[in-house]
């Protein structure tokens, strides 16, 4: 048993212990910040929470966040709907028809780049092509910017999920005489549905918190906006930003911003959890 006590063995054991302790510390360090952030959000957010927050519009005093929440819902759901249409179609082509062709590889690469492109650039792009020619900020521009952000997410998940559908299923359907479009739309989609829905929900969660692209497109407004897409669309992230910067001298508005931040984060976490639940059911 001499080698168990040799210097080399002890040194290796020591190095290993040190490394593992450092890993554990890293895990604590990483998670501690996040616990701190969520804790701050809850403590500060609850203080101004009331029913008025949901039903009053934003005002300098005694206001709520109702119009901002409604506007965010409109922007996010419209962008998610358009993004689903475009993203599922393009993802289908990549998985079912594109294969390893040069065009498909180029689209895949560009999509991966767009997937993590800075959202502020997307905002500037939509500003240059929509807001400048139209001459004013609008809900449409906001929807366009958010759509550009969600489409790569949907494309990626659609393609990944369709690739998981076994080729034998496609071949079996074809052997029975089914046409290609029928195979894709009935056989492949039903196999990949849960995964695609998960991708769409995660994409929706992502765009609902985006602030930078809305800064130059939808802007913000303190009025109720019921589906007037030509006008500026109030939204939650921009309201938080303005309350924390240009209105930060008013304590009530800062408190309201924290409540809004809590609502936004909870909404996004719930969407994420629902998405995970959907994908789990399919397994």
């Amino acid at each position: 048993m001499r080698h168990y006590t040799s210097a080399l063995y002890r040194r290796r054991r020591f190095v290993n212990r040190c490394a593992m302790v450092l890993c554990l510390l890293a895990a604590f360090f990483g998670l501690a910040w996040l616990v701190l952030i969520l804790g701050t959000l809850m403590v500060k957010g609850v203080s101004a929470l009331s029913l008025d927050v949901f039903f009053e519009r934003t005002r300098m005093r005694d206001g709520g966040l109702g119009n901002a929440i409604l506007g965010s819902l409109i922007l996010t759901s419209a962008a998610t709907a358009i993004g689903t249409l475009v993203g599922v179609a393009a993802g289908t082509w990549l998985a079912e028809y594109g294969g390893k062709s040069r065009l498909a590889r180029a689209v895949r690469f560009i999509n991966d780049v767009l997937l993590s492109a800075p959202s502020i650039i997307i905002g500037l792009f939509v500003y240059a092509v929509l807001v400048l020619p139209m001459g004013h900020f609008s809900g449409w521009a906001g929807i366009a910017a958010l759509t550009v952000i969600i489409v790569p997410v949907v494309i990626r998940s659609t393609e990944d999920m369709l690739n998981l559908v076994p080729t034998e299923l496609r071949e079996a359907a074809s052997a029975l005489g089914a046409h290609r479009w029928w195979v894709v739309s009935r056989v492949c989609y039903s196999g990949a549905r849960a995964g695609i829905v998960t991708g769409i929900l995660l994409g929706g969660a992502r765009i609902s918190g985006e602030t930078a692209p809305l800064l130059f497109t939808s802007l913000n407004s303190n009025q109720w906006n019921f589906f007037d897409m030509q006008g500026e669309m109030p939204n939650l992230p921009m309201t938080l930003y303005q309350n924390m910067t240009i209105n930060s001298f008013i304590p009530d508005l800062v408190n309201l911003a924290w409540t809004g931040a809590m609502i936004l984060t909870l909404g996004i976490l719930i969407l994420n959890i629902v998405a995970r639940f959907v994908s789990r059911q399919s397994h």
């Binding site: 290993n16 996040l34 701190l36 179609a89 393009a90 767009l114 502020i120 400048l132 924290w258």
Partner: protein, 315 residues
Amino acid sequence: MHVSTKRLASSRFAFPGASDKEIRILKRNALIDRAFERSTQAFALAVLLLLGAILVSLCVSSWDTLSAHAVDFLTGDRWAANMEMFGALPAIYGTLVTSLIAVAIAVPVSFGIAIFLTEKCPEILRRPLGITVELLAGIPSIIYGMWGVEMLAPFLNHIFPDLFPAGSGLATAGLVLAIMIIPFITAISRDVMLTVPPITRESAYGLGCTTWEVVRGVIFPTVRHGMMGGVVLGLGRALGETMAVTFVIGNNLFFHPTITGQGTSIAALIANQFPEADGAQRSALLALGLVLFLITFAVLATARYMLNRIERRAA
């Protein structure tokens, strides 16, 4: 009419024994097939065009600045809109410094968490911790910014009053960015480390390696490119981040070669000035956006290249 009967005749040749009705159905389906493929392809091509459109529209809308200032725009160290001076150096410096600080802090921490999750974590905790990391990657960046300005900046100012006279600054922004990209890099490195086949891992353990030796000698060398790809992807996210940075960077437009002092970044400068800008200033800010786009494009393309190599190996 004549053409269609001719086609029908040739189809009858291709499908002997098929009735007119069957041939019509076959033809209709063939048409739908082609329409389906072409229309989905059109959407895929739209994605390809989107990148070109972003590039072209930014170039066109910032042409005034690009043609008037050219290289001076990149090297000028003064940004004063009221004097029509547009030097992007302070913003570029701030962007690079904050991102590098963020990566320097986030990489060791993320790798540590990933090693813990894949090698040491008890089985019961593995899934919940993994899900927590993924959920945290979904929190919007404006929340990090708000937390940074309300909690972190006063805290840093309180602890190190000499280094952080105002609390905000490049280092504060770097720290907030680090906290933001830790879940992101952790999730990617964990996924990449799990692509190492269990057999390889177990053989190393069977030879008597310690956990650290397995990680260092077996796992890291096999998935080096994937881990690097994850890091570079995190860097790309940090470079373009707007809201988490704008709150805490200090928005100082004067160029100082400082680490902890106040400064600005490309994204923060655009977010601050764009809403009230027009004319030459707007064009200059759009040019700044173009610079940011080119930097992040180069970084993201590198990351993708590295990650694709890992994916090909895993497949």
